[in-house]
């Protein structure tokens, strides 16, 4: 399974949030997307997930175009965003059962229990979302994204607000899904964590991809250079391109 964004262009008014970005994420791979604020990371994630239609370019799964307008595509996608996206006056179990039912997950209540167990939040089932801490909300949001066992998981700053135990649980979950062959696209500011977790890192700056490489020792040094030295354009970088 390969998810590909090809020559993606997204505009907000006169601003080009994405300016001809190419990215590829394979099955069993975690692609981290990093970059400074306003680099286009979240827009890239929203475009790949089908939430936002690109002004130009296309998103492909195994070579076939996919679109957020297609319910079958949405059924294969899971999302953890920087906002938890829970209904505050519903309990955790009610929130998750609602989303599981919309995904037509068989035995929704059992699936909710399993998902909460997987993220270490089983004790929160009866708690209203408004009473959750930021870290707890983030765990529940992760549980929701896993309810329908998606092939492709998108995460936007998922470590924000998580305590060390929560972050470790999330890392374990992501590694398990990577081993299971899923595609994971992770947007983060946390370079250290993404070097330890991802197989590949794409660096965005000003809506353009300025680096795309592995997370081995040499690549990590290269990557740090992009953060400290201002970076080069991916198209002119000898080390640029898809490396596993």
């Amino acid at each position: 399974m390969t998810l590909e964004g090809r020559r993606l262009v997204c505009r907000y008014g006169p601003t080009r949030a994405l300016d001809g970005v190419d990215v590829v994420a394979g099955g069993g791979e975690i692609l981290a997307v990093v970059g400074p604020n306003g680099a286009g990371k979240t827009t890239l994630l929203r475009t790949l997930s089908g939430e936002k239609r690109p002004d130009r370019g296309e998103v492909l799964l195994d070579g076939s175009p996919v679109s957020g307008a297609d319910p079958r595509w949405r059924g294969r996608v899971g999302l953890v965003s920087h906002r938890p996206g829970l209904y505050r006056k519903l309990s955790v179990a009610e929130n998750l059962t609602f989303f599981a039912s919309l995904h037509a997950v068989p035995s929704a209540r059992d699936a909710v229990g399993r998902a909460l167990e997987a993220v270490g939040a089983a004790t929160l089932a009866g708690t209203r979302a408004e009473a959750l801490s930021r870290g707890q909300s983030q765990r529940v949001a992760l549980a929701r994204s896993l309810l329908h066992d998606p092939d492709i998981l998108f995460l936007d700053e998922p470590f924000t607000g998580l305590d060390p135990a929560g972050a470790a649980a999330l890392e374990t979950t992501l590694r398990a899904r990577r081993t299971g062959g899923g595609v994971i696209v992770l947007v983060t500011h946390d370079l250290r964590r993404c070097l330890g977790l991802a197989n590949r890192v794409a660096v965005l700056r000003g809506g353009r991809k300025v680096h795309d490489g592995g997370t081995g020792a040499a690549d990590a040094a290269d990557l740090l250079g992009f953060f400290t030295a201002g970076g080069r354009d991916a198209s002119t970088t000898p080390s640029a391109g898809h490396r596993s």
Binding site: R46, S49, G50, E51, K52, R53, G68, A69, P71, R72, R74, G75, V77, L79, S81, R83, P84, G85, L86, Y87, R88, K89, L90, E94, F98, F99, S101, L102, H103, A104, A129, R144
Partner: protein
Amino acid sequence: MNDLRRALLIAAKDLRLEFRTGGRLPSMTAFVVLAGFLFGFALDRGLVPGRDVAAALIWLTILFAATAGAGRIFDAEEEEGAFRHLLLTPVSRPAVFLGKTLANLAVIWLVSALSFVSLTAFLGVRDPGSLAAHTAILLPGTVGLAATGTFFGRMSRHSTLGDTLLPVLTFPLLVPVIFFGATATARVFLERPWTEISGSVRLLWAFALGAVVAGGALFRHLTDE
């Protein structure tokens, strides 16, 4: 799972939130009771019998209450960004619209019933006529109000004018609902035969179905980027 079941899930969730938060209902309820109370005082029943004006005042009260509530239909969805996640499920956009409209309709129904009771009481209408006939008129009228309110309630979210835009957009569109609704209701109060009323009811249904179909078909333009 079909879209109708998903729409019902969304409606059930909205109603659960509505009753749990006491969202729009208390303010809408207070409005219709106060409106009845004030109209009761403002009207000199020695000159104008309450029965002659009750229909128009009932429909105007329902319209104002429904419009005031429409701006808050999407509050719970936007509060923590839940709507984004709802839209990423396989539910179709018409089903989302239908679910939100059904929940809105249930709230408007409660408010309409209260408005009817409140105004007939405060205006001193002793014999309001056939309740079945009133129900047959209110049903299509409120379906039209609910669908229009849901659609424009979403649209106003995208506007810098916010809720201020709602009455500007909806009131002109809802003239047929008010006109045919008030006309038919007045005739029931005057105990006119159903043959004099059924034409207005058919037009109310035509508006209601048009609003539901058009809203469902166009809703994705208000949700998808």
